[in-house]
């Protein structure tokens, strides 16, 4: 591509320090798409309300996917909705992260057997970074999932970056 193309292909002190800075800034301002699907969305709202206060982790709901880094799939993904979720995900700028919250979006949950209109796991349409189990998960569980995601981002490498 350019002169510096090969220069940074190996990790070096500049890269790693810069990487740390990038990762730190990414993980501490994860803006999420304000997007609720089902029961888990209520717990997500409770997480951002006074008792658990999502803002402490830099998570601020944004109305538009184009301004956000994180999408929390909170609830049952139906076939009718799946394509919209895919589109929302595609509209988000890189780097983007996905938390699948609750049994339903993990694998269809209680609806996996007879649900003729339920997508059995959101990972069939978008890649998922962290699976938070629970039906619905406690707000703490969602926060723990977020901390896990932050841990993942912290260990990301600029050079060896695999698109999430």
């Amino acid at each position: 591509m350019g002169i510096l193309d090969k220069e940074f292909s190996q990790e070096n002190i500049v890269i790693t320090k810069f990487e740390d800075l990038m990762n730190w800034s990414r993980l501490s301002s994860l803006w999420q798409v304000g997007f609720g699907l089902a029961c888990c969305a209520i717990e997500m709202m409770a997480t951002s309300a006074s008792h658990y206060d999502f803002d402490r982790f830099g998570v601020i709901p944004r109305p538009s996917p184009r301004q956000s880094d994180l999408i929390i799939i909170s609830g049952t993904v139906t076939l009718k909705m799946a394509l919209r979720i895919k589109r929302l995900y595609e509209q988000m700028p890189d780097p983007k992260y996905v938390i699948s919250m609750g049994s339903c979006s993990n694998c269809g949950g209680p609806y996996w057997e007879h649900g003729y209109h339920v997508l059995k796991g959101v990972d069939r349409v978008v890649p998922v970074d962290v699976y938070v189990p629970g039906c619905p998960p406690r707000p703490e569980a969602l926060l723990e999932g977020l901390l896990k995601l932050q841990e993942k981002i912290r260990n990301e490498s600029l050079v060896k970056k695999v698109t999430a």
């Binding site: 798409v33 304000g34 997007f35 609720g36 699907l37 089902a38 029961c39 969305a41 209520i42 717990e43 709202m45 409770a46 309300a49 006074s50 008792h51 709901p61 109305p63 996917p65 609830g75 049952t76 139906t78 009718k80 909705m81 919209r84 929302l88 209680p110 609806y111 057997e113 007879h114 649900g115 003729y116 209109h117 339920v118 039906c135 619905p136 406690r138």
Partner: protein, 379 residues
């Protein structure tokens, strides 16, 4: 788009179709509205539902009667206790069994706490839609206290699986009565506070009064129930008009909309009615907690629920309106058909009528005042 001949007397701008949702912060979930606009005036609103259709009725046909209860929770997730009460009452009437006195009292306490919790979400998110963020935080703070009560009773915060056909799964924990009393004394000043913060705010009144007026005739013909119907002026509450459980023992009032700041049946009435209903729920709770008898709560739970061939439709007053269960049994362990009359499903139908002639910004106000839960609309 409608083609029209443009003449000097009939000069119209081109109509525009605006899509709102399914991802939109103020649609309260996954609802898509197709809004037909003439300039900024709304010509028609067509809701598209089904983005959360979770096949509840198909699941019922494959489950035994007790196994349906967890699925019933997931229908109206803001008032899961009340969905369970409705289902339990339906199955009990189908079987023809009586439940112990204490169970009835527990159900009423749970139901009314749930009503307060559900209305708090309705009021809080309505404030959020209109542009007031603070009431949302206060509402969720108080709702969290109710959830703590539920959690110590049955172990779950949102979806309880607590009220079973014939009884409840656990007895009340020892501290429950004391903590509920504490909550009620703390909560009563909060209603006043919320009223001062939001209800009587001039800006809020300007946004909601005289907006989305629902006349009584239309409301009945469209089958609108619950606070939305009462705001239009009809004193119709199933707790009194088609009594179930033991609501006839309590002394409470059924508030109706009076057009305090505008016309009867406008958004402000619908909103304010929920505030008054919370006060009435507190009244019922205070009485129920004083009167609750001792007794066994699991004795009437049938070991095996196998009703004879028959069908029943029962309804209860959910925080959102008339929640009905239509159960057809063909004599098996599984029901032949369960159909739910979801209050939000019927109430949402009126949206097109309400929005006609208003501005785009009013759609948010009107939709929030109807207070729908998409899980129940789509089931």
């Amino acid at each position: 788009m409608i083609e029209m001949e443009t003449t000097s007397t009939n000069l119209r701008t081109q109509e525009m179709v605006l899509n709102m949702g399914p991802q939109h912060p103020s649609t309260h979930g996954v609802l898509r509205l197709e809004i037909e606009l003439d300039g900024e005036l709304i010509v028609d609103v067509r809701p598209h539902v089904g983005y959360l259709h979770r096949c509840f009725e198909k699941h019922c046909e494959a489950m035994t009667y007790p196994q349906i209860v967890p699925y019933v929770d997931r229908m109206d997730y803001l008032a899961a206790m009340y969905s369970e009460i409705g289902y339990a009452v339906a199955v009990e009437r189908l079987l023809g069994i009586e439940v112990p006195e204490r169970v009835e009292y527990i159900r009423i306490i749970m139901g009314e706490l749930q009503r307060i919790a559900s209305h708090l979400v309705a009021v809080g998110t309505y404030g959020l839609d209109i542009g007031a963020f603070t009431p949302f935080l206060y509402c969720f703070r108080d709702r969290e206290k109710i959830l703590t009560l539920f959690e110590m009773t049955c172990g779950a915060r949102l979806l309880y699986n607590y009220i079973w056909p014939g009884g409840v799964s656990h007895d009340l924990p020892p501290d429950f009565i004391r903590m509920t009393k504490e909550f009620l004394t703390e909560f009563k000043p909060t209603i006043v506070e919320l009223n001062n913060l939001l209800s009587y705010n001039k800006i809020f009144i300007e946004r909601t009064a005289n907006v989305g007026i629902l006349p009584l005739e239309t409301a009945i013909n469209y089958g609108v129930t619950g606070p939305n119907l009462r705001a239009s002026g009809l004193k119709w509450d199933l707790r009194r008009d088609d009594p179930y459980s033991i609501y006839d023992r309590f002394d409470f009032e059924i508030p109706v909309g009076k057009g305090w700041h505008g016309t009867v049946g406008d958004c402000w009435d619908r909103y304010y009615l929920r505030m008054i209903e919370m006060e009435q729920s507190v009244r019922i709770l205070e009485q129920a907690i004083e009167q609750i008898p001792e007794g066994d709560v699991t004795s009437a739970i049938p070991k095996r629920i196998k009703p004879v061939e028959g069908q029943i439709y029962t309804r209860v007053e959910n925080p959102r309106g008339e929640l009905g269960y239509f159960i057809v049994s063909k004599g098996g362990l599984q029901p032949h058909r369960v159909k739910v009359r979801a209050p939000s499903f019927v109430n949402l139908e009126i949206l097109g009528e309400l929005c006609k002639g208003h501005l785009v910004a009013d759609v948010v106000a009107i939709l929030g005042s109807i207070d729908i839960v998409l899980g129940e609309v789509d089931r």
